[in-house]
Structure formats: structure tokens, C-alpha cells
Symmetry: C3
Subunit: 166 residues, 3 copies
């Protein structure tokens, strides 16, 4: 094998693998219903937004959900546990390996396709949402955390009931 | 790149890659209809179970399918080929990269999200099942095999016709 | 960790990772609507075919789409942009990591499962197509390109409107 393969192994691949691992943990935490652990995937002033393809490509800021720091995410989780009234359901995320768009020292911009299935208590799994994550990640201690996670949903017609984070 | 990246490469990543490779082969064997090769992914006394999220989280052992060794899996495949009467169909698995939960010398516990589409002879693909694999793997010769594969389906409402393994 | 793990890292894994990276870029280009970049994933005389499982397993050459070189792909993209009249829609590909079937110096045969969701302007995402890519890849400069991409759709019942490449 040529040298570039070794180079890929030592430089690019571990980054991909680390980011992929972050996505795996993120999804299993949500799909297993451990919502209290969700804000911990973000840096303290990290942002989480859900928008649609059309809104995003037209530069519209307003979206379906916006948390501008970890505290707001914790509030959402509390609301989800305590205040909200909704029909019980779970998600199943299927998330592609990430495509790294940019990387510099300790930071990375990544694009990742996903599909989320929603499972109501008495029903079959349904395609709830497809789209892509546009993420900015920062290296913290021995891992990556989200500085920005922008969820761009492909469809303009999103169920208004986004209770559980995507 | 810091040292930990190299460490990730040499220790964690190959394990992930080996397990991912096992999942790829497992799925293509089933989706290509080569069912006779399916038991070969397990050690001789390996177990294969299908259950639902509710049953699993409530500690119910009874499930939708239970094979407690490779021989029982071979029997299932024979039945599928010879005895069962069912409308012809195929599967398409889409399976995420694995999340390694635990690893010790030559063993690993892994959690992996999946979706299975079912394609009837005259129809379009339908979402048949979503869920997660909870696997215990052992290293044998130059690869990993399943010691336990527990298929936890997200929905309680599973089509009774699980002929082909998930 | 035993030596074979290091070996896997240096020989097999980077190949998988390079091919996976190609698939990621391929899918995001299409899903982001940058169709003009699609032919660039192929060598000049590369082929792109879409067929069905039944046609493929019965050795039928005729398929749903056939481009026998990059020029024909460019023509398709022009037609898509200029001539065709169709209801606006986008795709979302979810594509598994690849399974390398064969590799020799600078070439690889690969099998990869996929699902494509179609999103019409006013609707929710629908499962449009599931299947597998059967690819032959060649190493060019510092990356891989498709020499052959054969898209084998699981269902015989494909929407006639395949405007955007799968």
C-alpha cells in the first residue's frame, strides 16, 4: 500500500472515527430515552437548531427549534419530562458516517445524512424525518463536542410535535 | 495530531472496523438470500434472539424468536427452505456503524442501530422493522463471531411473519 | 492487541475508509442538488447502470438507466436541468459502509447497501428505493473513482420517474 494510505490512517481516519463515535453515542442516548445526557454532547455555549432545507437555503434564521446554550437544552429536557403532554413515542436514528468538510487544529466542520423513525406506543415505525446534520465540532479533553449542531430537515412539512431532539 | 489519535487507530478503531465488517457480511448474506451461511456468523453455542423494546426493558425472556445454538439456527434455515409456506420476499438491512460498549481481551459488547426493509415480490420496499442489535462478540481465529445477538425491535407491533432472520 | 489488528489498520481499513469517503461525497453532491459534479466521480469511460434484482440475477442487461461513459452522464444532467419536466423533488441517500469483495493493486470490487428517500416539494419523505451498489473502483491520483457503478434496486416496481441519479 502506498504511503498516503498510512497517512490517511493517522491523520484523517481517526478524526472521522472519533466524530462517528460521537454520533453513535448521541443517537443511542436519545433512542434509549436518556435525554438528560443529551446536553452533555455540546460545549457550554453550544447551539442546537432545527430548520428546513428551504429555510436554510434561503438564509432564514427562524427554525423549528433553537437552543443557544446548554442551559436551554437542559430546560427543554425538563419540559419534556415534566410539562409536555404528548403521546408516548421513541425514535430510532440511522446516521451515516460523517463527511468532514473542513478541519483545522482542534476544530472540524462536518456534514452527515440521517433518517429518524418514530415509533408510537401502538404502531409500526414510520419515517419521521430525513435530513443532514451540519456540525461544528471542537476537541475537548480527549473527545469532540458539538459547538453547533444544525439539523436541516429535507421536508418543509414537519410534524409540529418535535418533542424529542433529532 | 496528538498521540491519542494514534492510540485510537491502533486500539479502538480496528476493533470497530472488524465488527463493522462482520455486520456488513451478515447483512449481505441475508439480503442476498444465502441463508445457509447465516449460522456461520455465530460460535457453536451462540444464541440468537428477537425481542421487543418493551419485553426487553421489562426483563421478559420470551421473545419472537430464540435459537440457543447454531444447530437451531440451521434448523430454522431448513424450515425456511423446505417447510414454511410464505409469500416470497427479501430484506434490505441498513445498519449503522457499531458502538462498542465494553471490550476486554478477545471479547466485546456492542450496540448497533438497524432498519430492515421488506420487499414483497410485487411491491415497493416497506419499513419492516427498526431497532438495535445488542451483541456479545468473541474473537475466533482472525475474526469476530457472535456469541450472543439480541435483536431488540422498537415496535411492539411486529408482523408475525418473521421468516428470514433480522 | 494482536498484530493482525495493526495489519487491518494499515491495509484493509484505509481502503474501506477511502471508498466510504467516496460514497459520502457522491451522496451529498446528489442530495445537495449539485448534479453537475456527479459525472466527476467516474473515470472517463466509466459506466453507470440502474437495474432491478430480478433483471440482475437473471442476467438481463437492459435496465432502467444506462450511461456507458462520462459524456452520457453529462448529457443526462443537462437534460435534467433543461429539458425534463418533472415535479420538483430531492433525494436523501443513506448508505452503509462498504463491503470490499475483492481488491488488487489499485482496483477494488465493492458491495454497499443503500436506501434513497424522495422528498416532493409539499410532502413528507418517502422510501423511494432500496438496493445495493455493485461497484468497481480504480485508484486515480490520490483517490478512488468509479469504473462501474451498478445500482441493483430490490423492487421490480420502480417509479418510472428516475430523473436524479441514485
Amino acid at each position: 500500500m502506498p504511503n498516503k494510505h498510512s497517512r490517511t490512517t493517522h491523520e484523517n481516519l481517526p478524526l472521522n472515527a472519533l466524530i462517528d463515535g460521537l454520533n453513535r453515542r448521541y443517537c443511542h442516548v436519545i433512542d434509549d430515552g436518556e435525554f438528560e445526557r443529551w446536553p452533555g454532547f455540546f460545549v457550554k455555549d453550544g447551539t442546537y437548531r432545527i430548520t428546513t432545507r428551504w429555510n436554510h437555503s434561503n438564509g432564514m434564521q427562524a427554525g423549528l427549534m433553537f437552543c443557544e446554550n446548554r442551559g436551554m437544552m437542559e430546560d427543554r429536557v425538563s419540559a419534556l419530562r415534566i410539562a409536555n403532554v404528548y403521546e408516548p413515542h421513541t425514535y430510532r436514528h440511522l446516521v451515516d458516517p460523517p463527511l468532514v468538510i473542513n478541519q483545522s487544529d482542534g476544530e472540524a466542520s462536518v456534514q452527515t445524512s440521517f433518517v429518524v423513525y418514530r415509533i408510537m406506543e401502538t404502531g409500526s415505525p414510520e419515517v419521521f424525518c430525513t435530513g443532514k446534520y451540519l456540525d461544528k465540532l471542537v476537541e475537548m479533553d480527549k473527545d469532540f463536542l458539538f459547538k453547533e449542531r444544525l439539523v436541516v430537515c429535507d421536508s418543509e412539512r414537519i410534524d409540529t410535535m418535535i418533542i424529542i431532539p433529532l
